[in-house]
Subunit: 644 residues, 2 copies
């Protein structure tokens, strides 16, 4: 490789690069962090650098203005050095000075404790193995690779293969430089039967290595960085899925994917989302992109198809067939993820078109597959998925509930981020609320949206069908009701002078109908699924509620709303993002991986639309809590009491 | 993918291409054959096309002149369409009109017969499997991939994995278009223990599929195209290894590889050599590059390191350690081979730094590893490798004999191509010779070079040390001897008026010394190796001679020269290119593959330089036939008779 030198003046860094590699790759290899949402495809325009000195070749791009061209600002990903270069990353494209959006950090925890509690083994997908090899002699001059592999087989009892020419190229120099001692990072290749490992990289002294656990939801994407040596969940960040611009729900996006370039655009959007989160994480905790060596993805079937750029059309067409339910282990470079190019991307197996790896992950994270008692898991995302089962059986169904509970499609809806109203009470005509982080309110998130209809009903503002009543007497409340420009009633939760968004935070008549449709879809799905299994609500011994907003959920109010069945409150377990937790478990525990493969194989999927009652009785669920009072005896009793 | 249309006017072809793929890739995918020696790296300048109409983006290149730039001539590999294009491949870059050099075609044969004769099974590395799947229903809507894999497992009893996202993307459309029937091409993934297959491609109706068997020698590269369905060896082509410009022998090239960019240049040269041969083959028999789905490479250790761009430095340094002896199966695209990008590249396992896959291939091709009797294999390439053994043991050694017998380093040396003098006799002062194909002579190839010293000796022109005598009497012969401008004697084999090269074909005093050094190295290597094993020449029951020139070799004259030991002529088997034959066997027979892995494991390598006699007695071999007459009793007897 030709010793081109590159100096990055804003970082005061100089390094040696290869003429045949584009500057983006060289900068990342040298540990200079740089944005590239599209992964170096030349389409996001975020890897702009300024050439201060030296010759280079570059491609013209519509992302570079005439002015930038004059200033020698280029895309690093399409620029190749022709000689030594001095470059600068312009201030607006520098890593440290940018804050992209309203990320929200949770769950700094140690996974070891989680594993212990769940009685799972500790056995990560990637491992560091230290070695000390006997140097070759004329009598034992077998190859460097054989020397290393023999050590791993004989001393460590591991079957390891080398599937990578770059590794072989690095090996001889590494061994001789380090006196035949060092550390090799290996990754698990097959989950079933025999475990085979593949070499991933040779590690420098004290080099850290990390992995990402990722939950790709239709609306929200969450990413945790795990330090594999300590099993610390170093940081978790979430953001909206950038695919949102192509449609809020799965079906709309699949239809979009069928347009010219549609699938590719959806694919790029999710890669851009992941690369943005990666940048955010790297920047928060100051590590190198190249030190991330593995990724576990948990997501619904459609999201995984988009992630891997695979045709999703038949997911939405009868008989609803996905292309695959298990996916190959992919090299990060082939997905253009801006981490170590040899990093492996694993995905949690899927069940069917509408039950994805997120649910498989959730079932194991909640321990349903090893439970003696009948459990229910409901994942309240944009698609609502329901699982009923225990160690004997697992049955699943899906219902499209829309992204209302993720704060999308609601006039003042927001994700569960700082400033989101998560808890609402109406007491004596006064509205009291709590925001996340006790900040000035920015909107209402899922748990707040569940509270509001119940509170409005209790306060006598709306009737059981969710419509604003005409006979409200409390003057405080009357003050809060008005008609908006669409002629629709809206209820003011907070006046603009007390919000952080410069306008009133309200809930409209349509918002309420929207919430009722969402809660109705979920409750009814569960109702029909249980019926098809000849089970009653009372047969449920544990009821897991997962989803991003879960931890703020008021069970009682969700029951009043008719979202959750009218069973004992102590049966409910608010489980948070079980898809993300499952991805972490997949990453660090072999038993978890095995259980997930087992669950994916064993779980049955039931198409609810096959049951006549699904369509016929759905409308009953659009009331608060339901038209069939016998399903909600305690709620009805309570409502009668409070309305006295 | 966006429906950009590309029209190639010189081929009168129109096809749909993807905006994000460079034009070289699109043209090849569409079945337009195009040169690209460097495999699309933008460095060979052979994929020039002219843009007639339409917008595109391209990179500037020193390979495109200002004039070409004006004419919109670009490198297809660095050009991307921005809209529909009309292009032309300029006449000088068109495929059909070019003849690169003096290729030589051999061995149109059917491998089935070869396998039968060798009692080997027929079981190719790639297989076409026809399938007919039950279409999915709402009850059986499992994934397309599972449907196919279940069929392969249950109906064909094969463990098949899908490791390729492109395949998954192609699958759903293919299945539905073809009514759930079709053919999948699979390739073998592991040779040992369990055989696992990997999907390679979905085949169109009646699509043909081929594989390449390749012998990469230090001087010569040979390539055979095999039709996997019929097992026909459709065509074989050979050429010089383009690495020759960096040195004739292995050590010189390794030293070159240690320079800046040296390894990469050697790597590109071998890729360019292979791509040129591929172009030649494609062009001769009119098939598509994309229909070639597998490659088996047989080569010496250094060549394989260069092929895979792996550091070869420690091959030449004590204790002579290669980086690896078994190499991963590589995707053709990662090597920039201009065949189907999903094609798999397999390499025959190596033994040690100086005993490569070519020798392992040769041992199996000659059946030494299953022979009851003691056999010898000598491979007369630029490195002379020697194997002694049978089913019980296999011992090998190497000696650097130089490329003289490949016609390199000899003033009028040529490869064994048409017009090469392959047989020389001097009778009554007259020189009689035979050329390959009975063409006008162009030079002397290996077998001719072996004849000449023996004939010159018999005719009394040179003495046993190879020096031209001063007392020649025959006036015809005196006429043929002259001193050249270096003051060195040379003997005229043919006058320029009768040659095809416009100058005399001669053999010089240095040429003879060169031949003697080469033959001496080989004979002495064998002598020392046998001695180390306590074996005598007479213990050898079969003596295989392999190498490109082998089939024209006159055993008797090789014995007079002292190249071959003085044993019964019928023990010698002239075996041709056993490295190439072995590569073909590896490709089409599982037993052959297993035997080669076994041979690579079992064969011992002996470093001849460890034996004092190797250095001390070498000089004895620089005579014709040898200073120790007792080693050549029959030759000495014969020489005495003819000199009477």
């Amino acid at each position: 490789m030709e010793n081109i030198k590159i100096r990055v003046i804003n970082e005061n860094k100089e390094f040696v690069a290869n003429k045949e590699e584009n500057l983006l790759k060289s900068l990342i290899n040298a540990g200079v962090n740089i944005y590239a949402d599209c992964g170096g495809k030349g389409i996001c325009g975020r890897c702009k650098i300024k050439i201060i000195k030296g010759n280079y070749s570059t491609q013209t791009s519509y992302l570079i203005t005439k002015e930038e061209e004059k200033e020698k600002i280029v895309l690093a990903c399409t620029t190749y050095p022709l000689e030594d270069l001095i470059i600068e990353i312009p201030k607006e494209f520098q890593f440290e000075n940018k804050e992209i959006s309203t990320y929200f950090e949770t769950e700094k925890e140690n996974l070891e404790k989680v594993l212990e509690k769940m009685k799972l083994d500790t056995n990560a997908l990637i491992k560091k193995v230290n070695f000390k090899l006997p140097p070759p002699t004329i009598e034992t001059s077998f190859s460097d690779a054989d020397r290393l592999l023999t050590f791993l087989t004989r001393q460590k009892n591991m079957i390891v293969i080398i599937d990578d020419l770059d590794f072989l190229n690095k090996l001889p120099v590494y061994l001789r430089k380090n006196n035949w001692e060092g550390s090799v990072l290996i990754s698990e290749k097959y989950y079933n039967d025999n475990t085979i490992f593949e070499v991933c990289d040779l590690l420098d002294n004290d080099q850290k290595f990390y992995a990402l656990a990722i939950d790709i939801g239709t609306t929200t994407v969450a990413m945790s960085l795990i330090d594999i040596e300590t099993l610390n969940n170093v940081i978790t960040k979430t953001t909206f899925n950038k695919q949102m611009v192509y449609g809020e729900d799965i079906i709309t996006r699949i239809i979009y994917s069928e347009k010219e370039e549609g699938l590719k655009q959806l694919h790029y959007k999710i890669i851009a989302t992941l690369n943005e989160l990666i940048s955010e994480i790297i920047q928060s905790i100051k590590i190198c992109q190249r030190d991330i060596y593995a990724v576990v993805i948990s997501g619904n079937t459609t999201m995984i198809h988009f992630l891997f750029n695979i045709l999703a059309s038949y997911i939405r067409r009868e008989p609803y067939t996905p292309v695959a339910t298990k996916f190959p282990i992919i090299d990060a470079k082939n997905l253009n993820l801006m981490i170590n190019s040899n990093a492996k991307v694993y995905s949690i197996p899927l069940v069917a078109s509408y039950i994805g790896g997120d649910i498989v992950a959730g079932v194991v994270a909640c321990g349903i597959d090893v439970s003696d008692e009948i459990c229910v898991l409901i994942d309240l995302g944009t698609n609502g998925e329901i699982v009923v089962g225990n160690r004997e059986f697992l049955v699943s169904a899906a219902c499209s509930c829309g992204p209302a509970f993720e704060g999308v499609g609601i006039s003042c809806g927001v994700r569960a981020v700082e400033g989101a109203i998560e808890d609402v009470k109406i007491i004596d005509g006064e509205v009291r609320y709590v925001t996340i982080g006790n900040k000035r309110p920015t909107g209402i998130c899922g748990s707040g949206l569940i509270d509001i209809p119940a509170e409005l009903l209790k306060a006598g503002i709306i009737d059981m069908s969710g419509r604003v009543k005409q006979d409200i007497k409390n003057p405080h409340l009357i003050d809060r009701i008005r008609k908006n420009e669409l002629g629709e009633y809206e209820f003011i939760i907070e006046k603009k002078e007390f919000t952080d968004i410069g306008r009133d935070i309200v809930i409209t008549q349509s918002d309420i109908q929207n919430i009722l449709r969402s809660k109705g879809a979920i409750f009814h799905g569960l109702y029909v699924l249980l019926k098809s299994l000849n089970l009653k609500f009372s047969d449920i011994k544990k009821f897991f509620l997962s989803g991003g907003f879960g931890s703020f959920l008021d069970i009682k109010k969700a029951q009043i709303l008719g979202l959750l069945p009218d069973i004992e409150e102590e049966k409910f377990v608010i489980s948070g993002n079980t898809s993300l937790l499952g991805a972490k478990l997949f990453l660090v525990s072999k038993q978890a991986r095995e259980r997930m493969f087992e669950v994916a194989k064993k779980m049955t999927y039931i198409d609810l639309s096959n049951f006549p009652i699904y369509m016929n009785e759905y409308v009953s669920t659009l009331f608060i809590p339901h038209t069939d009072f016998s399903l909600f005896p305690n709620v009805i009793k309570y409502l009668k009491e409070v309305s006295k």
